[in-house]
């Protein structure tokens, strides 16, 4: 099985390479084999430990996930977590993008926002959660935390993307007397989109992790994080594994949904050429 790399299409003068396994297993089969390997390792470890309270087996965890999913309470908790974290992420995605537009074109705003964003970016998530516990109700903490974690990422990337707009194209746009709105739509926006989409991809995962951490520390009612906290308190390790598995699935689905939305935006504003996702 010799993996080869072949150019499959050309975009804006760059050759896009796509990995292809020549004469080997199809991709789904190799993925399934890898998953099987890690699940087997987990099973072997669980057998060797021999105590469910320390390391439950994969099948036990799967059974628990299935039994949890059969209850309405489970879906309510998942939905509430998704809603809280999703709102935080969306607010950050919108606010970060808008602030980046202002800071890219107004130097004094860049000077004003840059240190604040750097401070937010460098502050540990636990500090924000503990502060938020003092300031607000526990139901708002995951939204607040997800917002603060994602905001600087979106801002830094979008700001850099706007500044990376091609100078030759900008000169052309001015020579042809395009309005500022058209220049923004036709030159700046497509230039910033790859940066924005990459930031959203990173931010989605981060929002989910930070939001759940906030739910755990804030012991938020009707939340996935709250369930993880309870399973730790009552030493229900199977529940802990089951909820963690559910969290991973939701995180992946959340990220994929956001990437689908970003691809649509990319097709609309950049003809699919700024495809960073």
């Amino acid at each position: 099985m010799t993996p080869t790399t072949t150019p499959n299409k050309r975009k804006q003068g760059y050759t896009v390479f796509e990995s292809k396994q020549k004469g080997g297993l199809p991709k789904w089969a190799s993925t399934a084999l890898c998953a099987l390997f890690w699940l087997s390792l987990w099973q072997l470890l669980a057998i060797s430990v021999g105590k469910e309270v320390i390391l439950p087996a994969p099948l036990t965890t799967l059974n628990r996930v299935v039994s949890l999913a059969a209850t309405g309470d489970f879906w309510l908790k998942c939905g509430m977590s998704l809603l809280r974290i999703g709102i935080g992420f969306l607010l950050a995605a919108v606010a970060g993008g808008i602030i980046a537009v202002f800071t890219a074109f107004v130097p004094v705003l860049k000077a004003l926002f840059s240190p604040a964003m750097s401070v937010v970016k460098a502050t540990p998530v636990a500090s924000f959660i503990v502060l938020a516990l003092v300031w607000m109700k526990s139901g708002s903490i995951p939204t607040f935390t997800a917002f603060l974690m994602v905001l600087p990422i979106i801002w830094f990337n979008t700001h850099a993307g706007l500044l990376s707009a091609n100078g030759d194209l900008l000169e052309m746009a001015r020579a042809y007397k395009l309005s500022p709105a058209t220049i923004f739509k036709k030159v700046y926006l497509p230039s910033a989109l790859p940066y924005y989409t990459a930031a959203c991809g990173t931010g989605a995962g981060l929002a989910w992790k930070a939001g759940i951490a906030a739910e755990v520390l804030g012991r938020t009612a009707l939340s996935m994080g709250g369930e993880i906290y309870d399973s730790k308190i009552y030493l229900e390790t199977v529940d802990l594994f089951a909820w963690t598995a559910v969290l991973i699935i939701f995180s992946v689905v959340f990220e994929k949904l956001i990437l689908v939305w970003l691809r649509r935006m990319n097709r609309r504003f950049a003809g699919g050429l700024s495809d960073a996702v």
Partner: protein
Amino acid sequence: MRFEGLNKEYDGKWVLKDFSINIPDEGSVCFFGPSGCGKTTLLRSISDRLTKEGFRTAWVFQEDRLLPWDSAAENVMLAGATREETLALLRELGLEDAASKRPHELSGGMKRRVAIARALAFGGDALVLDEPLKGLDADAKANSASLIRRIGPKLCLLVTHDREEAAMLSDSIVYVKGPPLAIV
């Protein structure tokens, strides 16, 4: 028109130093000289002056400068032409099948012709051409030059180091050398 005292310096090196020139109000003037002598800088300086005096100036830049995410037709329509006008221009330049293609799907010569179509679509009072026929084959060169002469604005300024291009597009040729730029 008299352009006096044109100056431009890059990194301590004078490209234009107190350069002055007379240009007719109408017709096509070519600045002919070797690469790197400062022709493009002269073109920019004159274009800036024209813009300040209220001229609407269309450009064919040395690079095509097409929006990579827009189709050939959309790139031309950016200059203010309607879809029908755009398609007619593209047809005249032999690009009728390329209207919906994006720049990365076009050859170098096709991109060049889209850039020419965009400049012609803009109309305006003056057309500024920086090696406009670069990379075109003989037929496309003749066709594009003929269209520029036929429907281009009354004032056309061109820089090139290609004698054929100069002969096809200009009424008068100014031979230059430099830097700093000087009339030979």
